[in-house]
Symmetry: C2
Subunit: 169 residues, 2 copies
């Protein structure tokens, strides 16, 4: 997880002080964005660690969950990119690896020959169930927050996503 040595102080709060002392503007914005970056860094490391026994990364796990939730366990790759907010080439890469692991297979679209459907396999179903147990058991490493606080966090980030055009709201 990057550095093994935790700092004795809050690097973000420190950066904010320096930022403000130079009148660089928008310190609250800077602190919030940096906090989000750090939190993502921390969480992805923890989740990836929990997923390592299954030879999965968070990106591939997320794709599996999405397929697992879909009807017939299949979805056009483009739709997956929309849902996961990934570039088409990233989807290609992820499906390549999941297919090598026999967790997903590519099948042709019945009517549109441009489209490729990714379909979760029986192995995929089993792995995603087990992996989800592992992921939820670490509680996402956010037990420092209550469920109420997590909901407030999610709500604040929802507003951010709406403002950024992630979805209409």
């Amino acid at each position: 997880m990057g550095s093994q040595r935790p700092l004795p102080f809050d690097a973000i709060a420190e950066a904010r002080r320096q930022w403000e002392s130079r009148d660089w503007g928008a310190p609250a914005h800077m602190a919030a964005i940096t906090s989000i970056m750090r939190a993502q860094q921390i969480l992805i490391a923890e989740v990836d660690e929990a997923l390592k026994p299954f030879d999965l990364t968070f990106a591939r796990y997320e794709a599996l969950v999405l397929l697992n939730f879909s009807r017939h366990g299949e979805l056009p790759m483009g739709k997956m990119g929309d849902r996961l907010m990934l570039h088409p080439t990233s989807v290609t890469n992820i499906i390549d690896r999941l297919e090598q692991q026999d967790l997903v297979r590519r099948i042709p679209h019945p009517t549109d020959r441009r489209t490729v459907l990714a379909q979760i396999t029986e192995d995929g179903h089993q792995v995603v169930e087990k992996a989800t147990e592992a992921v939820t058991s670490i509680r996402f490493g956010v037990d420092g927050l209550t469920v109420d606080e997590l909901d407030r966090l999610t709500e604040l980030l929802r507003k951010l996503r709406i403002a950024a055009g992630d979805f209409p709201g």
Copy 2:
């Protein structure tokens, strides 16, 4: 920025409904972590876009800001990794590129020959000032939130970071 097509609905809220309907556990945790991942994805795309004219990425920009804030504009590479929560190899990579751009130079540590100091150049100082104007002018793309909401967000993520051992608190 990944998909160009915004979804007509909230993919995270939808995932949470499916998650809950299958009794997978910890839905608030799942929603919060996924929200953080999405927010990071959105923000890094916006910031990188703003930094493109300076041929910088957020990672390199953050390193430059850190050096800019440091005394004598220099820091051992290991310390930079601690502050930025980056693996030593990532720091090497970033300094490699900044050095190619003449924004940073490597100098030997005066007493410890193991240590390499990264020092910001005059070009580096100028670029980081200009780049900061560009970054703050986009307001980090989070104008959907008030300053008060941004502070609440930062505070919630601070608790998360403390719980994860990012710093003692």
